[in-house]
Symmetry: C2
Subunit: 341 residues, 2 copies
DNA sequence: ATGAAAGCGCTAACAA
DNA sequence: TTGTTAGCGCTTTCAT
């Protein structure tokens, strides 16, 4: 195993100075060098199997061509498609992403983000934003390029890519009302996240739009976006003796928790209660019953987010912008006409 | 935003030479420096908020403290837990992983691995091994530290972490035989992978162990580990008029494909045909019917694999070893007593 | 159009 | 125990 060739080796082999070889090999500066010389250098590089050392380049240019990707938990099926969308955009641009999991723990999040800065990432794509998020505020204030995906923050000045949650809720609610449901409950996600808040607000808006009463008893906030929290939420609702024929769940995992809670009580979906989820997670169509849900374009969210960050890195002064992506309702077996009476 | 402090700033602030500061700050070399001086340096570093620049360190030491992780597709629910296991071991050791997806395309795999070497990874954890894999042979021959997870290669000298697939098949088959099944088919995964081959071999061994005939018609090789290929495989079997009461699927996705194919034909699981999967993928318990499957310790596979690689990086001369992890059968609704006649 | 020279921030001989 | 020196591989002024 011999030492990999360096720029110097290429220069020697082509009979030029390393600086000239550098210029010839870099597309950005190639025009500064004689075409013939450039070709000679390029041939020499190819012959030697030369690959520039990105670490040396980074040290000189203080650009790492890497970014950090902050997600709650890779094993949540929501995130892998986002990650792929991001990588498929970053890769061709010469960038790569370091992925960290926060497990929704602010301390862990802070430690992980610090380890990313330590790695000299040029920017961050963050999927863990809370509406109020002082730590992210600080990073933004420090000038670190930041893009939010999936969730936004209250302050609107940090670029974000989100789905049109309000429209999704409107679709879901219209579907339920169309099926004859009049008493619809909402098992909301955590209200410190934009997704949780936006969907809950849109739920109330939909009630108003359809002329249905907004009863506080029909709204429960789940402690987390998990099956466990969803089951607990529905049990709370049922224990309180609340009467409803349909549930709008904050997301698919909460909907799955509803399946569990219903099974515990010997109730059936959709016969007794219809359920709509959010996300269209993988295999939602294979569940029992297949889950009606709002499909979110996760891959596109990732891809758009990466694009926003690249734009920002290439032109730091460019105006920031946020992107909202459309979504669709996928009707399956978990929703059915309401009991009449 | 002022320039981040460098080692030089710390040295100046502590009134020592940068080399001394370097020694004081690095735990490995701290014993070379006077305790008081070291403390003064450490205090100065803390006061300035100094963080060593890992890129400069890498350039000097030619160690990147990064490794590459090669997987087929992050959106396959098999892999996120492996990734987390890997990261949870690498992180505390000061290493991080670059993740690449190959989509099971050898060309893409090669390109991605080259981009990892370009990034100066110190080693590779590979989840895409085929039994014969010349490209990986080449990397191993070139001295790149390599660890295989999930799948092995024919040559046994590359360290690997796998589940005890043969034992898993034996468990699954014993379960089916116990339930009264006598005509059991195997929808095997691709035979160029160790998992596909090992499970298929163990299937035939189990037939022999239980005194059942080994009929070639009862074995089908699926083209890939996917739902689509699983559905195609079962259709092929049914179209051939093969009579069986149970199916051992190569993995859970192939089992899901069987669900689809059965539904197409108006047959039901487990009433008409029982199915056992492999992996215990997330939400396998929520499927219709809940899937009986062999649970593989994915997180542990990742964690062990990372440990093997770290051992290798710390002591390149250390003997290689491979790890085989035990697994368990999870019995659910997709298996039931066979029809009698 | 090319070469010379300097330096990104750090570490590791070697010298004192 | 500390300082001196050199250099990892590359890019980028500046000079020619």
């Amino acid at each position: 195993m011999t030492r990999p060739p360096t720029l110097r080796d290429v220069a020697d082999s082509a009979g030029v100075h390393p600086a000239t070889a550098s210029r010839a090999l870099n597309p950005e500066t190639r025009r500064l060098v004689n075409t013939e010389t450039a070709e000679r250098v390029i041939r020499a590089a190819a012959a030697l199997g030369y690959r520039p050392n990105p670490i040396a380049r980074s040290l000189k240019t203080s650009r790492s061509t890497s970014v950090g990707l902050v997600i709650p938990d890779l094993t949540n099926p929501l995130f892998p498609p986002i990650v792929r969308g991001i990588e498929d955009v970053l890769g061709p641009a010469g960038y790569n992403a370091w992925i960290v999991n926060t497990d929704n723990d602010p301390d862990r999040e802070q430690a992980q983000i610090e380890s990313l800065r330590f790695r000299q990432v040029e920017g961050l794509i963050v999927a863990t934003a809370r509406l109020e998020h002082p730590f992210l505020d600080g990073l933004a204030a420090a000038g670190l390029p930041l893009v939010l995906v999936n969730r936004r923050m209250s302050r609107g000045d940090i670029p974000s890519v989100t789905a049109d949650d309000a429209a999704g809720v409107a679709l879901a609610m219209a579907h339920l009302v169309e099926l004859g449901h009049r008493r619809i409950a909402h098992l909301a996600g955590p209200q410190h996240t934009s997704t949780g808040r936006t969907r809950a607000n849109a739920f109330r808006q939909a009630l108003a739009d359809h002329g249905l009463p907004d009863e506080p008893a029909l709204r429960v906030e789940c402690a987390s976006w998990t099956e466990l929290a969803g089951a607990a939420g529905l049990r709370e609702l049922l224990d309180a003796g609340v009467d409803c024929t349909a549930i709008l769940a904050g997301n698919d995992l909460i909907a799955l928790g509803c399946y569990d809670a219903l099974a515990d009580r010997g109730a059936r979906c959709p016969d007794d209660i219809s359920i709509v989820g959010f996300n269209d997670m993988p295999y939602a169509d294979k569940l029992n019953p297949p889950l009606t849900t709002v499909r979110i374009p996760h891959y596109a969210i990732g891809a758009e987010g990466a694009q926003l960050l690249l734009d920002r890195l290439r032109d730091p002064l460019r105006h920031t912008r946020s992107v909202v992506l459309p979504l669709t309702l996928v009707v399956r077996g978990s929703t059915a006409p309401a009991r009449r009476g």
